[in-house]
């Protein structure tokens, strides 16, 4: 089966190269025969990659330690769940997994569009196949996952204990689905540039792909935060690690893109800008993989055998050079008659939204690469850690949050001061009242608390604008149809899924900002060495150490479990059971956090150390409102689903556009080329 997997990767590579050549020659020479031949390659390549993936999964499930990769990331005692997830636990498997997702997306795009968009699809397929060739090239010549060990060992090393968590099954695939997904809009953007189809057709075609990829990337980032929170045991969820930054940057640029394409769709403006944004988003996804696989920047996420830096850097350079060359070459065609009715308009607020988003993206990028810059200019390697990002990104983030409230309320084209007064009077008054009310309850002893207070006020402002938008619209709908407010609300959202789904996403963003502000500013913690029966007090709770027990979970894992009674006002509210897990042949034990999460606060208990006399060191955190972040994540998911829900109105409008285009072609003086369906 391993030989079959290896052969499948070789066949996949050869087929991909054949596909690229055929697609390009078919497009250049109008060769139907070549097109029909190339048309089958995406499916063949996908089948090859799938076959290789099945072979690797089989090797994991059957404990085939003759495969070096299986030996390095699995062992016979490992849970089946983690054996399956070990597939993407190391560099080789993760590259294969990336390729599997890429080719799966390619097959979906191929089956969706191949009969509808005859001019764009061949080029887009060729671009996706080029990406596939790159990854299959690595898998065949540099990081072969089927490399064999001449004398197979009896057992494997096992997956890193920190990765043996259920989030390992959820977080990396979600993130990869997001990363790889942006290849689709990128491929169509390049196809549009090559074929000179530079209206908003490619944007409309890939809008949902961009949204789906954004969704997965967003969820992947937040799942990663949850994983860090429950597994790493330092009471936080985001450490501004270079690889976290690498996942965050494309998300931010893609968010800017999703906003700015609305201006192009509405007013046919900013073509160069949107093209640049999608190219930048894709480049950022590759930059992320470059960081994890180069070993150039120190990170907890870096793969052990991070040796592919220069290959990825070269690939990145080629992508950037080719994309910039194409944009520059097509600049005359991309120029649009940019006009603006007023400084005070939705369009201008979107421009500033883009500025702030890219500002956050740039600050994060700058911090990530600054150690390299410092070393290059001064010969001194420095560290850029969380204090930098918190101090730089927090003020910019607060401006962004305010724009989330301001932007959607300002009218398209032109708003007057009286419009603004009408729109913002109630939100500003509500936020002001909230600010006065909160000032009686919240402390102001340090900068973090003051910033959190300001953030809460902005959150109230934004929420009020969104609630008013919904209520105004729902009332208008109800009045028109003569139904109830609820019916009006349903009708409003149903007929404007994209707009109101977007507002729901904004509500989720507000929840996340509130959660971050509260947990950063008002979190308290304590660490104490306790004997059985002793207690520590924190945040109005009493944590009493009750017992310590040892459990042999398996031949390779021993669990030390402490029990802690948690009391509030003398009443037992919870029993915390933090653990230390010891894995055979691992230097460091792994802490398993005990967590009680409510919408008010999280109780977070870690067993930091213990001795034979059952004395134990506990670290306890009371983190307010962390739950709001995970709730905000669900709200974002709901809003994105609303945005993506198939829209019959939109489909009808699309068909009308197609008919109009066909009519133009039919009436045209020259013989028409194959109709470019939108």
């Amino acid at each position: 089966m391993n030989a079959l997997g290896e052969f499948a990767l070789q066949l996949g590579l050869a087929t991909s190269i054949y596909g690229i050549v055929c697609y390009l020659m078919a497009a250049r020479g109008n060769r139907i025969d070549l097109y029909l031949s190339a048309d089958k390659t995406p499916l063949v390549v996908w089948a090859c990659v799938m076959m290789a993936s099945i072979a690797l999964w089989k090797a994991f499930l059957t404990d085939d330690f003759s495969v070096e990769y299986v030996w390095a990331y699995s062992n016979s005692q490992q849970n089946v769940f983690y054996k399956l997830a070990s597939f993407w636990g190391g560099q080789k498997g993760s590259l294969l997994f990336w390729t599997l997702i890429l080719t799966t997306y390619m097959v979906i795009v191929h089956s969706q569009y191949r009969k509808k968009h005859l001019r764009l699809v061949p080029h887009a397929m060729a671009v996706m196949l080029v990406m596939t060739v790159f990854f299959l090239g690595l898998l065949n010549f540099s990081t072969n996952p089927f490399e064999l060990i001449p004398l197979p060992p009896e057992d494997g090393r096992g997956l890193n204990p920190l990765l043996q968590n259920y989030w390992m099954v959820i977080h990396p695939p979600t993130l990869y689905l997001g990363y790889v997904g942006f290849t689709v809009p990128f491929a169509f953007a390049i196809a549009a540039l090559i074929t000179k189809n530079l209206d908003d057709g490619w944007i409309r075609l890939t809008r949902k792909w961009a949204l789906i990829s954004w969704f997965f990337l967003c969820m992947g980032n937040l799942f990663g935060a949850q994983w860090a929170y429950v597994e790493l045991g330092w009471g936080g969820y985001w450490a501004w690690d270079p690889v976290e930054n690498a996942a965050f940057m494309p998300l931010i640029v893609a968010t800017a893109y999703l906003h700015s394409i609305q201006i192009q769709e509405k007013k046919d403006m900013m073509k160069v800008w949107n093209m640049s944004l999608i190219l930048l988003t894709f480049v950022m996804t590759i930059f992320g993989t470059f960081i994890t696989r180069s070993g150039l920047i120190q990170s907890v996420h870096t793969f052990d055998e991070a040796t592919l830096g220069f290959i990825f850097l070269g690939f990145l350079g080629v992508i950037i050079a080719f994309s910039v060359f194409l944009i520059v070459k097509r600049l005359p065609l991309l120029k649009s008659e940019n006009e603006l009715d007023s400084f005070l308009s939705r369009e201008s607020s979107f421009l500033f939204n883009n500025l702030v988003l890219l500002g956050i993206g740039f600050a994060t990028f700058w911090g990530t690469i600054f150690p390299i810059i410092s070393e290059a200019f001064r010969g001194v390697k420095i560290t850029v850690g969380p204090p930098f990002y918190n101090q730089v990104n927090v003020p910019i983030g607060m401006v962004l949050l305010a724009l989330v409230g301001i932007g959607p309320v300002i009218a398209w084209r032109k708003a007057t001061w009286s419009n603004l007064k009408n729109s913002f009077f109630k939100p500003i008054v509500t936020a002001g009242l909230a600010g006065v009310g909160l000032s009686f309850f919240l402390p102001f002893t340090n900068k973090a608390e003051i910033l959190a207070y300001i953030t809460f006020i902005i959150c109230v402002f934004v929420l009020t604008t969104i609630v008013l938008e919904f209520s105004k619209g729902a009332r208008a709908r109800a009045q028109i149809s003569g139904g109830t407010f609820i019916e009006g609300f349903g009708s409003l959202v149903w007929h404007n899924k994209r707009r109101y789904g977007g507002y729901v996403v904004h509500v989720g963003i507000v929840c996340i900002f509130a959660g971050i502000a509260a947990s950063s500013a008002y979190s308290v913690d304590a660490q104490k060495v306790l004997k059985i029966g002793e207690s520590l007090e924190l945040g109005g709770y009493t944590f009493t150490y009750e017992k310590l027990r040892v459990r042999e979970a398996s031949d390779v894992k021993t669990r030390i479990i402490a029990s802690m009674g948690v009391f509030k006002d003398g009443k037992r509210v919870w029993t915390a059971k933090p653990e230390k897990e010891f894995y055979k042949e691992q230097n460091q034990p792994v802490s398993e956090v005990s967590l009680r999460s409510t919408f008010i606060e999280d109780l977070y208990v870690i067993l930091a150390d213990f001795r034979e006399d059952e004395t134990a060191t506990f670290k306890v955190y009371v983190n307010p409102m962390v739950w709001w972040m995970w709730f905000g994540q669900m709200v974002i998911a709901l809003g994105t689903i609303v945005c993506m829900w198939p829209d019959k109105q939109e489909e009808r409008r699309r068909l009308q556009r197609v008919r109009r285009q066909e009519a133009v072609f039919a009436a045209g003086p020259a013989a028409p080329a194959p109709a470019q369906q939108e």
Partner: protein, 162 residues
């Protein structure tokens, strides 16, 4: 003009927020944990406050001992920089070449802001010259619009793309 002023105020306020960290006090050990990186053999790359390894735990105890012996936070940080080099600091210092790390993001945003303002001015001017004077405002239809407009409003809402 207003946009220019807003951009300048935002820039000044942001820089104030960045450079004002020293104005507020905090727990001393936490300050040290935030300021210094873990130097364990595993090269975990974590700031000490985020690290749970044995080295980080020992370093925390050392911090407390140093503070108890009368050393200040700055002295302890300097001691670590002397021992491990600048790389032990969790963020670039706010002087010399490292200042560029702090200023560049805000300079880029301000530059971008002025660029956008300039573009917008050009686009507004272009619109005015191409279409003459635009109407003063595009009023949102009132939710209580007369019934004769109701059907038209519904059609518009149905056709609204975003």
């Amino acid at each position: 003009m207003k946009i220019k002023k807003i951009l300048v105020y935002c820039g000044v306020l942001s820089l104030f927020l960045v450079f004002s960290s020293a104005a507020f006090g905090g727990a001393l050990v936490a300050d040290l944990e935030n300021a210094l990186m873990c130097k364990c053999d595993d090269k975990c790359g974590k700031v000490i406050i985020n690290c749970t390894c044995d080295t980080a735990n020992q370093t925390r105890l050392d911090f407390q001992q140093h503070l108890d012996s009368g050393m200040t936070v700055d002295q302890i940080i300097k001691m670590h920089v002397d021992k491990y080099g600048e790389t032990v600091l969790s963020a670039p210092s706010k002087n010399g070449f490292n200042l560029t790390a702090w200023i560049t993001p805000f300079a880029a945003i301000l530059g971008g802001g002025f660029g956008i303002r300039k573009l917008m001015k050009r686009w507004v001017k272009r619109k005015k010259t191409s279409a003459g004077e635009a109407p003063d405002s595009i009023e949102e239809p009132s939710p209580t619009a007369p019934s004769k407009y109701a059907r038209r409003l519904q059609d518009e809402l149905d056709n609204l793309e975003s």
